[in-house]
């Protein structure tokens, strides 16, 4: 088990190192002169902002220093939690801008991912080898999983927001309200949260249902299932065993899908102008706020790594083979 976690942590450490290095390299090795173009394209009118930008870029890029020195400086700033200053919301530090947006994204992504995983697995397991259900769940699942996240979001917003008028289609809360902990405000938050949540939930649902269905069919064909049914075990019992085996690859699948799910959340937020990281990225791109963009990137990578590690721990709890040191989960 120590080897398992050691290996995982090595991979995550390396990944973070690669991500930071990529983040450092891209502005330096892309064709053209990023400092000049960024200052020019930012269209900042305040002279002190322009000055600060130039100072920040030169100090961060440190073009007079040798490359290795620049690289070390970058890490130093990062470890102090210094991501630079946002240009769009000058002079707020990037870390502050990100911290205000993160709760919204987490509130959207955590429930939708977990619920779609649980419900999708149940659906898929139930539909497998049941003709009628299978013939409906499968096509619906394929359509859902093939949909671009933002398209379903747009369709839901159009149907339930614009035509029926049941839900608001923009923002995290009503403009007339100020964030506080009153019941009315929380209800308003929930009201704005419903549609983005629903669209994330539905797109992810299809993939899990299909995966689980295929897995269950595979397990029901295996020797232990045949043996059990030859012994006269009730099919419910066999299905329960099949489910426990089939759920393991689905946990690995959840880890592999995290990147896609985060991407889905980002574009969904943009559709609903939901004040999370996705809208932040859009603003950063529109305002050429590269510090904000790069800070958000590192933040997302860090979040995905932490989520991966949590899934690894869950895997050890669920699969006894990893605990016994047998090759259960492949790194």
């Amino acid at each position: 088990m120590r080897r398992y976690f050691g290996r995982k942590l090595l991979i995550y450490g390396l990944t973070f190192f690669v991500a930071v290095t990529v983040n450092w390299m891209i502005p330096r090795f892309m064709p053209g002169d990023p400092v000049a173009s960024m200052v020019a394209r930012a269209n900042v009118t305040k002279p002190e902002a322009v000055e600060a930008m130039r100072a920040y870029y030169t100090s961060l890029f440190g073009l007079d220093q040798p490359l290795w020195q620049q690289y070390l400086n970058f890490w130093g700033a990062l470890l102090r939690g210094d991501f630079g200053v946002s240009i769009w919301l000058f002079p707020t530090p990037v870390s502050d801008v990100i911290t205000t947006a993160v709760p919204y994204t987490l509130a959207l992504i955590v429930p939708s991912v977990l619920l779609s995983w649980v419900v999708g697995n149940q659906f898929g397991a139930y539909a497998a080898r049941r003709k009628l259900l299978d013939n409906t769940v499968l096509p619906v699942g394929y359509v859902l999983t093939a949909m671009p996240y933002m398209w379903l979001a747009v369709l839901l917003a159009w149907a339930f927001g614009v035509i029926l008028g049941w839900f608001p289609v923009a923002g995290g809360y009503s403009f007339s309200m100020r964030p506080n902990w009153s019941g009315a405000f929380l209800l308003d938050l929930l009201h704005h949260w419903t549609l983005p949540f629903l669209s994330l939930f539905l797109v992810a649902l299809g993939g899990w249902a299909i995966g689980m269905r295929n897995m269950i069919i595979y397990e029901l064909e295996s020797d232990y299932s045949n043996y059990l049914s030859a012994l006269g075990a009730p099919s419910r019992l066999i299905r329960r065993y099949a489910f426990r085996n089939a759920v393991l690859p689905q946990i690995t699948g959840l880890a592999l899908q995290l990147g896609v799910l985060v991407a889905g959340a980002l574009v969904t937020e943009i559709v609903f102008a939901y004040p999370g990281l996705g809208s932040l990225i859009l603003k950063a791109i529109q305002n050429k706020d590269f510090f904000l963009l790069q800070g958000t990137f590192l933040f997302i990578v860090l979040g995905v790594l932490i989520a991966n590690f949590i899934i690894d721990i869950v895997y050890v709890v669920v699969d006894p083979r990893t605990r016994a040191g047998m090759a259960g989960a492949q790194a």
Partner: protein, 294 residues
């Protein structure tokens, strides 16, 4: 191994004919490829048949679908159908370029790691796992944001460079199961090099699997490209289905009720990717006799 095995080697033509026999009788495969083919033809021929610049402003803004404008017009009077056929082209291009590059890298890494094993495998596997964990869209966002001029080809290139890890992992696992087979040992004894064994002995034995991998990579590339376009990092020139969605969202097509602006591009992406997934299931049934029943 002393007795000669009496199994007559099946010539490739026979195998191909058998696969074709089951392929044309497989509803999923035919339906899936049919949909993709229709959209592909529309994308290829549409811009030629219906001339005109897709982004040109027209005199009649915000008109619903009519005989003159099949899919209606945008707030700027642009013809949505014209944008749609041009957009299909970019979408297929990005899928082929992105999926193709990812498939090639995935194959090279997977084959070499799976066949060579040992320290080469350790290093390549580590690399694969590292890139697998990094959220793809986030990397693409950073890269594309720094690119001044963006084109469909460059977008496809970077998508290909980031999408290959899962394919490499799958191909590596397949190669593992093939490398200890007798025909591979025989080739090795006869002095064939690594490259030759991979190309002549291993790859042909999993060609169907490789093709299916490419299809999934193609679908993934199309989806991720549409997300990039939607965030505003699409090609700076031209049209794509993702860009159409982005424009519709940016110019409040939703609030103005211009459903003909945002429904067709999303429907086309869903149709292409969904049809490819379904065709993939069909292909699986064609190539894998165990799944053929009924």
């Amino acid at each position: 191994m002393t007795t000669l095995q009496e199994v007559a080697p099946r010539e490739p033509a026979g195998v191909r004919r058998e696969a074709l026999y089951f392929a044309v009788r497989n509803g999923k495969l035919m339906a899936g490829f049919g949909i993709v083919l229709v959209l592909l033809l529309l994308g290829l021929l549409g811009p030629v048949l219906f001339g005109g610049a897709p982004n040109e402003y027209g005199p009649k803004p915000m008109t619903p679908p009519s005989a003159e404008h099949w899919f209606g017009t945008t707030t700027f009077g642009q013809d949505v159908f014209l944008q749609f056929v041009h957009g299909l082209r970019s979408t297929f291009a990005v899928g082929v370029i992105g999926g193709g590059i990812a498939a090639v890298i995935g194959m090279v890494v997977g084959f070499v790691a799976g066949y060579r094993g040992g320290i080469v495998d350790e290093i390549l596997n580590m690399l694969t796992n590292v890139i697998l964990v990094i959220p793809t869209l986030a990397v693409l966002l950073i890269i594309n944001a720094y690119l001044g001029i963006r084109s469909v080809a460059v977008q496809g290139l970077f998508i290909g460079l980031t999408q290959w890890p899962w394919a490499a992992r799958a191909i590596r696992a397949q190669t593992f199961s093939l490398r200890t087979r007798e025909f591979v040992d025989l080739a090795r004894m006869s002095g064939a090099g690594t490259g030759r064994i991979i190309a002549k002995e291993i790859a042909p034995n999993m060609s169907s699997y490789l093709f299916m991998t490419f299809i999934l990579l193609f679908g993934g590339a199309v989806l991720i490209a549409s997300s990039l376009d939607f965030i505003g990092l699409g090609p700076t020139e031209g049209v794509s289905l993702g860009l159409m969605l982005q424009n519709a969202n940016q110019w409040s097509a939703l609030q103005l009720g211009l459903w003909w602006w945002f429904v067709p591009p999303g429907a086309a992406i869903t149709a292409i990717v969904g049809a490819l997934y379904v065709a993939n299931v069909g292909l699986d049934e064609v190539f894998n006799p165990k799944l053929r029943e009924t």
